[in-house]
Amino acid sequence: MSEDRFDKLMRDAAQTFHSPPEPPLEEMWAEIEARSGFRAAPTIESVTPITAAPRRGIRIPSWFAAAATLVIGIGIGRASNSVGHETQPKAPVTVAQAEPAQSTQSSDTLLDRPYAIETSQYLGQTAALLTSLSSDAKGASADAQLSTRASDLLARTRLLMDSPAANEPAMRDLLEDLELVLAQVVRLRSNGTRTDLDIINRALEQRDVIPRLRTAVADISAN
């Protein structure tokens, strides 16, 4: 093939290869703003009630709820740690400082429990969503409610991936797979097709995602 011919082909590719659509600038900014913490503090006018009921309420973002759950879990863990030590003779502070390794190990063991609770709840909810997705494959594509739930779970997935819950390799692999699946489910809201849903369900089957989810829930419950 001549140089000219090849250059002509590459010029054509510059126009046709993955030709970008108009970027969704505002939608992307809304997400970036929320994740980066640039969003201004909500005013009374900007607060959206959870329901149309006259009761006043502040809408709590899902990521905040998940983060709060983790923080509260840590607090519970630390409180449990304190309670556990109260049954034993109190040692002087200087002794505790002199034995940091033992103290840390005890604390870590107790800190795992809230993460386990949060992870177990998260996995259960994700299993329920993905199971309903599988059954939906026989009918219509996912609706907006499903996509919203997936979006919430996606945010929690990413929080857990950055938490000690993801320290175990098998759990980390599972969370990475779930991140991808949930991101695809979220996509269904805007441009989902039956083909997309089929691809997701085939991927779920090939990666044994749902059985692995159930196994993980059972493992956590057993511990």
């Binding site: 011919r5 054509d12 590719a13 510059a14 600038l25």
Partner: protein, 193 residues
């Protein structure tokens, strides 16, 4: 080859260091200004590398979230755009490895990335073959060819973004083109006639 991309540097009403300082101080308006100046180019690069609107959107978001969180580490050795595009390429490369691992091997790419009908004058079969050949290139070659031949970055810019020497960039492009030519070789005679 004709340049189809735009220059990396974007006109700024406020100087870049000043904008960065304001963002670091938590100025939301400055952050939006920075986003407005660079987001379209970042999205464009992400889309070219992925061919998927949803992934391009997600990776653009990830790029800016990461950039804002690490902005204090930006020392101004290179242009901010270069730094952002470096993050973009890294985010896309890392994520696409996971995506490819996850996706079914037998998924027909045409279902996911329909090839446009624009660009008259080129045989559609040859065009499709070329597109597939670009997608099948090893990552370092594909990124280089997309940035240079498709998006119009200069070798200097690509070298800065990828953190390699300019000579390495040229060599990769040459290798990539050789591979593309080889893939198209069997179709060439009939097209030349």
């Amino acid at each position: 080859m004709t340049r189809t991309g735009v220059a990396l540097q974007t006109p700024q009403r406020v100087s870049e260091p000043e904008l960065i300082a304001r963002v670091l101080a938590g100025d939301r308006i400055a952050a939006r200004d920075l986003y407005d100046a660079h987001s379209a180019r970042v999205y464009r690069l992400a889309f070219r590398l992925t061919g998927d609107a949803a992934l391009a959107r997600e990776f653009t978001q990830d790029t800016f979230v990461r950039a804002f969180s690490q902005l204090a580490r930006f020392r101004g050795d290179a242009a901010l755009s270069t730094w952002l595009h470096r993050i973009t390429v890294t985010v896309v490369a890392n994520a696409m490895r996971k995506v490819k691992r996850f996706r079914e091997r037998e998924t027909d790419l045409e279902d996911v990335h329909p090839i446009g009908s624009e660009g008259a004058g080129v045989d559609p079969v040859l065009r499709e073959r070329l597109h597939r050949a670009i997608e099948d290139l090893p990552e370092i070659y594909r990124t280089t060819v997309i940035m240079h031949d498709i998006e119009g970055y200069t070798h200097t810019e690509i070298a800065e973004v990828l953190g390699v020497a300019e000579g390495t960039c040229k060599s990769r492009l040459s290798q990539a083109r050789a591979q593309l030519r080889a893939v198209l070789a069997d179709l060439a005679p009939e097209l030349e006639s």
